[in-house]
Symmetry: D2
Amino acid sequence: MAVNVALLGAGRIGKVHAKAVGAAAGATLVAVADAFPEAAETLAAAYGARVSTIDEIAAAGDVDAVIICTPTDTHADLIEKFARAGKAIFCEKPVDLSLDRVKACLKTVEDLGATLMLGFNRRFDPHFRAVRAAIDEGRIGDVEMVQITSRDPGAPPPSYITSSGGIFRDMTIHDFDMARFLLGDEVTTVYATASVLVDPEIGKLGDYDSAMVVLTTASGKQCSISNSRRATYGYDQRIEVHGSKGVVSAENQRPVSIEVATEAGYTRPPLHDFFMTRYTEAYAAEITAFVEAIETGTAPSPSGEDGLKALALAEAALKSIAERRAVGMDEV
Amino acid sequence: MAVNVALLGAGRIGKVHAKAVGAAAGATLVAVADAFPEAAETLAAAYGARVSTIDEIAAAGDVDAVIICTPTDTHADLIEKFARAGKAIFCEKPVDLSLDRVKACLKTVEDLGATLMLGFNRRFDPHFRAVRAAIDEGRIGDVEMVQITSRDPGAPPPSYITSSGGIFRDMTIHDFDMARFLLGDEVTTVYATASVLVDPEIGKLGDYDSAMVVLTTASGKQCSISNSRRATYGYDQRIEVHGSKGVVSAENQRPVSIEVATEAGYTRPPLHDFFMTRYTEAYAAEITAFVEAIETGTAPSPSGEDGLKALALAEAALKSIAERRAVGMDEV
Amino acid sequence: MAVNVALLGAGRIGKVHAKAVGAAAGATLVAVADAFPEAAETLAAAYGARVSTIDEIAAAGDVDAVIICTPTDTHADLIEKFARAGKAIFCEKPVDLSLDRVKACLKTVEDLGATLMLGFNRRFDPHFRAVRAAIDEGRIGDVEMVQITSRDPGAPPPSYITSSGGIFRDMTIHDFDMARFLLGDEVTTVYATASVLVDPEIGKLGDYDSAMVVLTTASGKQCSISNSRRATYGYDQRIEVHGSKGVVSAENQRPVSIEVATEAGYTRPPLHDFFMTRYTEAYAAEITAFVEAIETGTAPSPSGEDGLKALALAEAALKSIAERRAVGMDEV
Amino acid sequence: MAVNVALLGAGRIGKVHAKAVGAAAGATLVAVADAFPEAAETLAAAYGARVSTIDEIAAAGDVDAVIICTPTDTHADLIEKFARAGKAIFCEKPVDLSLDRVKACLKTVEDLGATLMLGFNRRFDPHFRAVRAAIDEGRIGDVEMVQITSRDPGAPPPSYITSSGGIFRDMTIHDFDMARFLLGDEVTTVYATASVLVDPEIGKLGDYDSAMVVLTTASGKQCSISNSRRATYGYDQRIEVHGSKGVVSAENQRPVSIEVATEAGYTRPPLHDFFMTRYTEAYAAEITAFVEAIETGTAPSPSGEDGLKALALAEAALKSIAERRAVGMDEV
């Protein structure tokens, strides 16, 4: 059985997913919708799909699943619409910027018994998966401390900041999900501190560009997250997990692995400078997992609940900054 | 203009090239031929191509180019046949195991003004290309010494050895081409030594499994090659170029980049264990370059002449072993 | 002029300093005092020094300087005694476990115009100094975030824990000093979380073995510290400083730099497993700096004030844990 | 029992050995001789030794051992003189530039039952020793291929070249000894090629500055050596041993291990730029081994025979270049 997929949103990330569908065994892209018809047409043509409206897709008998890559403020409504239409749903994070709206949406999904997968692509990065596998195999014993360093190559434009929900809901949310993926225990308290060191414009918009977060679990496990909106040397994405028997870490990735040694020393090239090239394999593997979940009728992971919990951690971080104290997850 | 490509040989490497054609912008796989009809059918179906005979392909008006992945002893005849048929030709190395046959074949290609590209995939590896780019940019000054370490994960079966032409024509030939690619000067003398340390069966067949080669150029540049048919830790493929201003090297590649530290030390996973996974990007880039050469009407590189010169180096290496001396390239 | 040095305390760290004095150009070890006469005699004999009492050393006309390596609870009294005796003083950290006692002691030192240097050896590690030099040279622009990972190979015995003042005053204090050394700004707030994950005995004594700390400065710079009393792979001591133009980091150190690759992967040996072997060069450089400060009449660094500030950070960390909030340095 | 040592030659390497004697438990430097009295006096004063003539040292009842650091052309005569005087002898390589003279000298040493150790310092480098230990422990199975990369930071002055015996007797000789140390089998054939790429002056003196050598053993093991008199990035000293079960390698050493990442990439500092700083630990360990051999009455290693064999390999390399062929060790 081939899974027929429709794509909602033909922008930057939509193209990445269209390519992943094209490459996935057992999946076919059949329809593309976008507010800009030309974008939809170009992408549809490249994969032999048709251009449709969102309503047409919801009503289409030959569409099994949808991939939602539209703006964030449309996610929750679309999830509910397609849950009602009986389609399996893959949605880019976040479901919504409001915790209450997310909860309501997930309630609808649950009541309808719909299939929903959240787009936390990093869980599918082969290096991060290998870190998790090393933990699962017991190579480092019991997990004690997680350290996540996550820095963007450069700050997004102010227009993006405005609709992003701020650094914690937009950027750190990936690290919150990774922390949960690696800690193996739910987080109980959050402490965060943040400042504006990169771009004063970001501060004027009420957001931050530099942040550190410490998470703790009921059993005393700890996790630190270090974020910056700027890393001159590329997209800095490292994780390290310290356990009772050792430590496992994932190194940064670069497009080419050469080294030049001269009088000035030994130099290797900068890292990937874009999340799409850094996470190429992860995006493909995530869509493959979505298709497999549909084919096998199993619940996809990460789930809507994972999306909710990561967002709740972002809320707690903001509350922590406002009150300069550790915030319990039972408070948000 | 789309370049229509036919594939001759639907085996292991044929599949790799079919996938590369499928992914290449501007190229379409239209026909597949193979002595085993089922192999051809499976591959043709996957890419929407037809199954054809070699003669049909030679006569087909809609085929612009052929990719030859058949057994080595058919290469020269097929090159000549398709040169006469006016098709652009990509052929896996080597053109033939006999220097004279290669020369005759290339003469035919030249006389017909045909387009021929040889499959030295490593020239298209992004890491090795970056090494060459560093040289071209003058970062290490004048090239003085090249060191190539090239070890297979494991020895091939005796049946393969028999038809391979031996380690120098089969395995070292890639390193000979890489040496020429990096030295920037033609090799004038060859010294080789070889032994059987991995598998006595290889020795019984008159071949070697462990070899070292030293090449020199007229201007005194030097190149060492170290080959083994076995590397327990994966596919070991390193190059280093030492120049008047510094050194540039390409590191080994592994599927996942994690490190686990325990009482036993710091451990990273083994390397890629197969040439196809190691050189995935190189195979795709090589076919892209072939297609671009056809589209732009430029001479593809590496050329048939490059194939001839690498094979001549293999001949010289064998003569060097037999005579325990440095052999001049004017002797072969 | 040679500086004549007396050593107070011939234990483990005393031996390290005796060797450093022996190797330092311009310094001579003339006297050793220890509560255990045999320890003093052995060490004195090895360096041609005499065994003395503390009072004799204070009164000795040929002693220019003392190195205090006695138990922590004697430090403040000894500093005051030798400040009055007109000797230059090098004292192992901390001056005292009580902030008030430290302040009183430093007041005495200041009033007497005495020379006092604190034993924060890590400031003299060549790798950490190179990190600081890279910052000072402007290679990473303005410092924004410091990340310190500092893990002991194994937990100390309960008897040590009891008199240590706890993990923050005993272990993290080095990291607090390093944070100040690298941030280039005074810390204004401290958040800490800690738990007992390594050894329940440590918890029974009211101490912790696993901790994370976040420091912030008035200008919004941030620093994270990650501590564990156990690292199976050796003495884990890393620092990383992220700035507006890049990042600089110091790698871990191991006794031998080899790598073995087998079917199981690529393995490098564990790190140094003891602070004395890890910081051999730092201990020697620290004593050399002390001697040079005496010879040139300049104020040694790190100073008593540096010791006080690091201890205040430890106090703030403890208060933060008790109150689950960020503590301002103006509160301790 | 303390071993009393006299030093012959107070130059650059003499100072290194004097310091090593000073640091070695159980050894005392008692006398120093040098053609330049001032050099001898300075060094003697620093270690509380007396200045003596060579004849006085030979006759001195309180001298157990001598360390010969005089010019090469005096080595053989001094070895014979002190063998007759009943002193244990440590001599810097080489014994002599003439194979016949070395043989005669070693015959005298043997006839007198004297103790002679040769100064191949690299055998005592902790990293290279760890490589050898990994082999001895069977971690890489049977040794098959050794690769030695050995490049000086810069070419020596012409005056040094003239008396050095040329690159093979002066520089490669260390690599020849390391090859023997690691191969575990005697070399049977030598092929060498060399050119002048660094400094034309070296060529005018009849020497080379760039060389590659391939050694083979009777059982088919192979070893490559790559030498250059210039490496802009520091003192490049790498070894790699490939065996049936894996590979072990020793990495280069640098004074400080930091990394700076910026837009331009990731940069680590250059390597050590001088053999004395690179091999500090090796020089100390070599003298310690000499003293221990004297104390325990065991034969020191490396022996005079090791010195002879390394020199014979240099002779074979020169013959190989002259005759452009592999030279059997039974030919020199």
